[in-house]
């Protein structure tokens, strides 16, 4: 029986690559979401700082 290795290696590699590609795409999407979360959190941090300033102004002026 001829050695099937040379012919079929490409197909096997392709199949496993498909699997890894799916996982990696997922990682990329998660990374994008994570950076968006960071951005939103820093915006919210600024908002919170504004609230604290407003409250300080109120206690000062009252």
């Amino acid at each position: 029986m001829t050695d099937a290795l040379p012919d079929n290696t490409g197909y096997v590699a392709a199949a496993y690559l498909v699997f890894f590609a799916l996982v990696l795409i997922y990682v990329v999407i998660m990374a994008a979401k994570l950076s968006r979360f960071e951005r939103e959190l820093s915006e919210l941090e600024e908002l919170a700082d504004e609230r604290i300033e407003e409250r300080e102004h109120e206690t000062v002026s009252s």
């Binding site: 079929n8 197909y11 096997v12 496993y16 498909v18 799916l22 939103e40 959190l41 919170a48 609230r51």
Partner: protein, 246 residues
């Protein structure tokens, strides 16, 4: 409920199991007598298929819970499970097609009943997202999606049975699968790959749930800090909301 707990440990466990499984598949498991090297696709294709089907059933179970308790979190769990299984399912069809091409020279064969059943199931679940998107009211969207998930989940075993019976007398089973007759040295790698794939599903599911949960909490935090005007309206979406309480 926090979804990110133990996520790092789970990810490491997944990576270790899958690496061990694939490693054993290539270096420990014997070469298949009929198909030779290309049989190695079996170790990635079949675990993906089993886990995807399990994911669909899990989505159906979550949907039953949603219908019973009206808790929006179950709807989210169901949605994420079905979403993930659909992606895995696409992978199953592609790897199955590659295997068919390697075995028979055609990119698709109707001889393999499991693959054909899988195609039908995939086509069915592909309508899940369009169905959700076409219903605007979020509560009704969640409810109808759950009804669909339950129906489709019950359909999966029926479909596999019917397709399998339709093939039984015309073509013998082409691809070696897990049930019956796996040589001993193939079993360990296969089961490791299966467990690893299931762990991968669990890991990705948790990632997705944690991400959705974080989104919802950020939104809620923004509303609390900035008032209702600071929050952009959600617009039409196929994805469920987590409900107002988390």
């Amino acid at each position: 409920m926090l979804y990110g707990t133990r996520l790092r440990a789970l990810s490491i466990l997944t990576a270790v199991t899958l690496t061990a499984g694939f490693g054993l598949a290539f270096f420990y498991a014997p070469m298949d007598a009929d198909q030779g090297f290309m049989q190695k696709i079996f170790y990635v294709h079949v675990p993906m298929a089993i886990v995807a089907l399990g994911g669909f059933v899990f989505g159906g179970i979550m949907a039953i819970q949603h219908l019973r308790t009206r808790d929006a979190r179950y709807d989210m769990r169901s949605y994420v499970a079905i979403h993930l299984s659909l992606i895995l399912g696409a992978g199953v069809l592609v790897t199955g097609s590659i295997w068919a091409k390697a075995s028979w020279g055609h990119w698709w064969v109707w001889d393999e009943p499991t693959l054909v059943s899988f195609l039908v199931v995939f086509l069915l679940y592909a309508t899940y997202q369009p169905l959700r998107f076409s219903i605007e009211d979020p509560e009704r969207q969640a409810r109808y999606a759950s009804v669909f998930a339950v129906t489709a989940g019950a359909f999966v075993p029926l479909n596999f049975l019917a397709v399998r019976l339709a093939q039984a007398y015309t073509h013998p089973r082409v691809f070696a699968t897990a049930d019956g007759g796996l040589p001993a040295r193939m079993q360990l790698p296969f089961y490791l790959c299966l467990i690893g794939m299931a762990l991968l599903f669990a890991t990705l599911w948790k990632y997705e749930m944690a991400s959705k949960h974080t989104s919802a909490q950020l939104r809620s935090l923004r509303r609390k800090l900035g008032g209702d005007e600071a929050v952009a309206p959600r617009g039409r979406s196929a994805a469920p909301s987590m409900g107002t309480t988390t």
